[in-house]
């Protein structure tokens, strides 16, 4: 019987702290009657995890199953930021929607824990574990407005299609395990190279199954069908959460699995991902044109953005990966910012989620309109904002990797996207207000908006800090 050795727990410390705090939040829910306490508790937890994260050594532990490196650190920062911003924008919103339950916060923490595990997964089993923890929590969050049929529908669709995706992933895992006899990403890569399996059909099939499963998670066409319904039906704060966190986590594992485990068959998986990326950008941007519900529009926009980010993965270089990470961070800011404005419009008895609700917002609430303007410009990719810089780096890395034609396609679609983003700006500034819209502004929401707007502009003007951070993060990859 082999002696049991205590694995090095230091690299897992952020996850351990996160688990404990998520459990504490769960218990706190039954102790405290005021749910705002929980919001503060969860933000405090995230801040604590944030500090633990920076004290964490870059090491692998649990026999290579868990990797703490710059890459995972960067993604974990995105997830933690996502939690803070989501919690800030949802405190008042949950009261308005009359679903102010404490489980919301612990579910968000658990989902984030799952994402953190995914980002650090050095083993397919850990990856799957994290993925399921994240997915199960978000399924519940999507259906959080229990009395609303649309929310229920969102949760149901998300759950069913998510379960399909998990099944695809498991099937891919089982095939690659059957072939190589290991679930360790590095070992898989070594096995494929050593045995010259780069043209093996099982490897190809498994790789395609992985691509399908991850495409589900990042809502890439043609596996995006759940996204518009889920994003529209889910509570707006959860939509903001879902469109950033799980998507970033999906890219984290996509990058790790495809660049490490399937690194030797890069040409094959880029042949799979290129049509997916083109379709994703195309469908996302073109279908978004005809949307009248702003949440649905942002859902399609989110699909389109996944398409842009895929370009960085397809480039397959460290630079490409760094640009994807950079882009995802920027996307977190601008997307949650946009959702924060949407949430601000949601008041008792007023949904505020159709595009026409924004008519003349600049007259009645100039500040809110200005913020929305910033986020919309950023989502379009107009220069002084961060969105431009994000796209620029992605496109540059793709061009350097030799995919100039792909970048041309992406730029064309990006130009199309200007129409529906700027339509909102046009509505806000060029139309007269139909009815008076009141805002549900709270200090927390104000903080979230201030953070996101400031970040969007600062990164837009001075992108080098984030980009060099992302490059440094990828360096140890």
């Amino acid at each position: 019987m082999p002696e049991f050795v205590m694995p090095d727990l230091a690299p897992v410390m952020p996850e351990i702290v996160m688990t404990i705090l998520a459990l504490v939040t769960l218990i706190a829910d039954i102790i405290f009657k005021r749910k705002e306490t929980l919001a503060i508790l969860s933000i405090a937890s995230v801040v604590l995890v944030f500090f633990v994260l920076f004290g964490t050594p870059f090491k692998t532990t649990f026999n290579g199953m868990f990797i703490a490196d710059g890459y995972s650190l960067f993604f974990k920062l995105i997830f933690l930021l996502n939690v803070v911003l989501t919690v800030l924008i949802s405190m008042r919103y949950l009261v308005i929607e009359r679903v102010n339950f404490g489980e919301y916060y612990s579910l968000i923490l658990f989902a984030t824990l799952g994402m953190m595990l995914m980002a650090s997964a050095g083993d397919l089993i850990v990856l799957y574990l994290g993925l399921e923890l994240m997915a199960l929590s978000t399924y519940i969050l999507a259906g959080f407005i229990t009395y609303d049929m649309k929310s229920n529908e969102a949760a149901m669709k998300y759950f069913l299609l998510g379960a399909f995706a998990s099944a695809f992933l498991l099937y891919g895992i089982s095939m690659i395990y059957g072939l190589t006899g290991t679930t360790d990403l590095n070992a898989i890569s070594e096995y494929i190279i050593l045995n010259g399996l780069t043209a093996n059909p099982v490897v190809m099939l498994s790789m395609i199954l992985f691509a399908v499963a991850f495409s589900f998670k990042i809502a890439a066409v043609p596996f995006h069908m759940w996204a518009p319904d889920a994003y529209e039906g889910a509570p707006t704060s959860v939509t903001a959460f879902m469109s950033v966190g799980p998507k970033a986590a999906g890219f984290a594992v996509l990058g790790r699995v495809f660049l490490i485990a399937f690194g030797s068959v890069r040409m094959d998986w880029s042949a799979v991902l290129i049509p997916i990326a083109i379709l994703t950008m195309g469908v996302g941007n073109i279908v978004a044109l005809s949307q009248t519900n702003i949440k649905r529009m942002l859902a399609y926009s989110s699909i389109a953005h996944a398409g842009y980010a895929l370009l960085g993965i397809i480039a397959g270089t460290g630079e490409g990966l760094a640009s994807v990470m950079n882009y995802l961070l920027i996307y977190a800011f601008m997307n949650i910012g946009a959702f924060a404005v949407i949430i601000m419009l949601r008041t008792e008895g007023f949904k505020g989620d159709t595009i026409t609700d924004y008519e003349g917002l600049a007259k009645s609430h100039p500040l809110a309109a200005a913020l929305m303007l910033v986020f919309m410009f950023s989502l379009t990719g107009i220069p002084p904002t961060a969105g431009f810089m994000g796209k620029l780096y992605i496109f540059m890395s793709a061009v350097y990797a030799g995919y100039t034609w792909l970048v041309v396609v992406a730029v064309i679609f990006s130009a199309i996207s200007a129409y529906f983003y700027l339509r909102i700006v046009m509505y806000m500034y060029m139309r007269e207000p139909k009815e008076s819209v009141s805002l549900a502004a709270t200090p927390a929401l104000g903080i979230a908006l201030a953070i996101t707007a400031a970040a969007v502009i600062i990164i837009g003007v001075l992108p080098s800090a984030v980009v060099s951070f992302a490059r440094a993060a990828v360096a140890g990859f």
Partner: protein, 106 residues
């Protein structure tokens, strides 16, 4: 050997039982049961589902505990502490379910 013995045992037990079937069926005419009133298979309380879900959670826990308990002597303190952590995490969920009145039957 043990598995064989068990398989045979199960089969023989089954066949010994099955021998009785023909007797049981002998000379059996068909006859209807009670006159049914309404639909017997009705909707039933959601509580049953909750119990079923909780059962899955705790049964999986028990399944984890068995192998641990068997090799308790050999795996040392580390495994013991790990299992304590496992039970504590489960216990948090248990307290949560209790406070959310999952065990209250009304």
């Amino acid at each position: 050997m043990i598995a064989t013995a068990f398989a045979l045992g199960a089969l023989v037990v089954g066949s010994i039982f099955r021998l009785k079937r023909p007797y049981a069926e002998k000379l059996m005419p068909y006859e209807s049961g009670n006159p049914p009133v309404g639909e017997p298979r009705q909707r039933f309380s959601v509580k049953f589902y909750i119990i079923a879900m909780l059962f899955v959670v705790f049964d999986v826990e028990a399944v984890f505990l068995y192998p641990w308990a068997i090799v308790f002597d050999k795996i040392g303190l580390y495994a013991f502490i790990e299992m304590v952590i496992f039970i504590v995490i489960l216990f948090v969920g248990y307290i949560y379910a209790w406070k959310k009145e999952a065990f209250v039957w009304d």
